[in-house]
Amino acid sequence: MQKKEVKKTDENILTRMVRNQMFIPLLALAALALFNLIAGPEFFAITLGTNSAGNPVLSGYPITILDSGSELAILAIGMTLVTAASGGQDISVGAAVAIAGSVLLRMLCGGNSRPEELAMPIIVAFLISCIVAMLFGAFNGVLVAYFKIQPMIATLILYTAGRSIAAWINNNELPVITDPGLSYFGGFIPGVPIPTPFFIAVICVVAIFLVLKFTNLGLYTQAVGINENSSKLNGLNPQLIKIISFVILGLCVAVVGLIKVSRIQTINYSVIAKDIEMDAILAVALGGNALSGGKFNMAASIFGAYVIQFLTQTLYRFKVSADALPAYKAVVVIVLVVISAPTVKEWFGKMSRKFKVKEVA
């Protein structure tokens, strides 16, 4: 351990910083924050008010970012694992959220699209939607692990069919739940001024870090993602581990489904969580994780998710039309891809070495 520290001090501070996986998302965050600060510091103002139900709530752009970024952060957890283990991405999460949300509503309504009271406790309905979402995750996982189909192509199936399945679950009806209990998950718990989705995200993050600490999930997914043959010869079952990563993503999907449905107390099959898969993938990439799989940094992915929401919110602030958002995100992707390209990395390395020489001189 000591040797390690000695070793570290040898290195140039700049090199160390650039090498850190958090560097890119932090840099992006700093740039966005600076930009917003220059455009007007009121961006960072947080005020305590009350909502229409008379409960205290915090509001302001930073709170909105924490609120809306939470779904993305939760999905980024699962997406990071899938990326690490399978070397590909699941593009069906948006459609899977629609399915999970639809199951949740169906369970709560018990078939009546405008129920006076809930057909079952929210927690039970949520657990059922978890199971369904995990089954769909397992379906994707089996296609990827056993049929060796590229994850993007395998998940294209659910991407195509998912929203129709979601509509079918509720017989094409659009149930509306009026029970205030459901609104807490996507809104505020009475008396707590911080948006609940943020708490849910924190719970998920803590959960995944506990899992990574107290199980071998991290080691196994990385080993399988880096070298499947070797993993197999070390007694791992690469197929099973890939499927597990998809199932965990399914669980994340169910949680997001709960938040999304809770936000508006109903569902619109064709637009709920639309394009969220792209943001989740972007979060993983922004976190400096290789989209080709292998080593991952969970914290960086989660952080990347909030940075993306920061970007989205900044664009809203400047009234960029919503349908132009993907174009701006595309710019981010291009920058990311270029930064992580080997040639550019080499160049960075050269520059930092030059810098070091100068310092010495």
């Binding site: 070793k7 196994y220 080993a223 880096i226 070298n227 007694g235 292998g294």
Partner: protein, 504 residues
Amino acid sequence: MKDNIVLQMKNIHKSFPGVRALQGVDFTLRKGEVHALMGENGAGKSTLIKVLTGVYSKDEGDILLDGHEGPVAIHSPQDAQKVGISTVYQEITLCPNLSVAENMFIGRTSGMGQNWKKMNSDTEKILKSLDIPASATQQLETCSLAVQQMIAIARAVDMDCKVLILDEPTSSLDEQEVEKLFKLMRDLRSRGVGIVFVTHFLDQVYEICDRITVMRDGQLVGEFEIKDLPRVKLVSKMLGKELDDMSDIKGEQKTYERKAGEVPVLEAENRVSDAGIKPFNFHIDKGEVNGFTGLLGSGRSECVRAIFGADRVTGGTIKMNGKPVKINKALDAMKNGIAYLPEDRKGDGIVGDLSVRENIILAQQVLRGFFKPFSKAKQYEIADEYIKLLSIKTASADTPIKSLSGGNQQKVILARWLFTHPEYLILDEPTRGIDVGTKVDIQKLVLKLASEGMSVTFISSELDEMLRTCSRLVVMRDRKVVGELSGDDLNQSKVMSTIAGGDK
């Protein structure tokens, strides 16, 4: 150039960073001959062929071709094709979803127009003349592998090739298919085509070839008429041991004898996997070091993989200490106290991006189970212990294994398996591509482990190493176990003659 010579390569040099792959190699091919190019791994065969076909550019030397004034310049596979040099690889490089005719003519038509009728009828003609059982309009992937290979050859021949290179064409064919291919080769030979035949199968060399060129370590060993080079001599040339000085370097190890009443640690009966080996029997006793030997491609790795369950096991039984056990996958083997250091270090051994520490604990961690991870502190403790024990040179336990030298990577993998405290350790080419010092370290370690009661199977391409460490050798040829040597038989000449299949 002499009349009957179609190709002459003179004094070819080629270096890669840190490796001198070819050092002044000459090669001569005559009209109407099948010429075997032989050599063990790293001998430079494939480099030579890649230079000839323009995949690599040579550093030095000339290539002369019949009908061309002076040296020819070949800078790309297209150039090679233009001057009449064609290659057919083990893997079919044609398009499986196009028709046979389309495959014959793809990339050869000039302009955009295409006379499909003529193309089909031309193809039929060629197929008929070469007696290839396929039709022009058939989709390629509906043909058997052998036929596909023959079509690839027909395509090459139709392009007026004078030099045909067949790179391991028989590896995935069964005996009858090989026979068909040979018939085609003989036919082409009679038409004056010069064929370079690269293979690992000794029998096939002696069945079809006229001449043999042997290479070793990037150098030419010599060119021989087939009748002047009996098998045992060929083997010795490939391995670089002259029969004369096969001074009986007897191993330092004691001849192993099983104590009364003891059962073998492991006993395999009719074990067979889907990797193409014939069923084999094998056993190892407590504290014994033995090995599989044979030429490259003889099936020695496949045998130990079959024992460990690394390939799909298709039959046979395993007994550990006399009790039958089920070993169908790596984890089964590990649970039964078997460890396996694979031959392909990069592809099967290291987990490149992970740290030395994670690479060391991986196997034991898997055995411990998903919910029982070693604590970080424990991981460092273990890693530091093995780094010291095997004197692994690494900046820290957190260094990614891929940034270590080959020898140190191998030591990390060894550490990984030692940490599982196996009863039976399989080392498949643990010394390949690593420095001499490390090689010696590993051999010493093997003997030490055995003296402590571990059973070790040791495989190496270098016979010396095996003779030094093993007390018994299982000899393989052409994917079959052909003999077992121990005691006084453990000397080079005996091993080589067994590999060659008698003193023929």
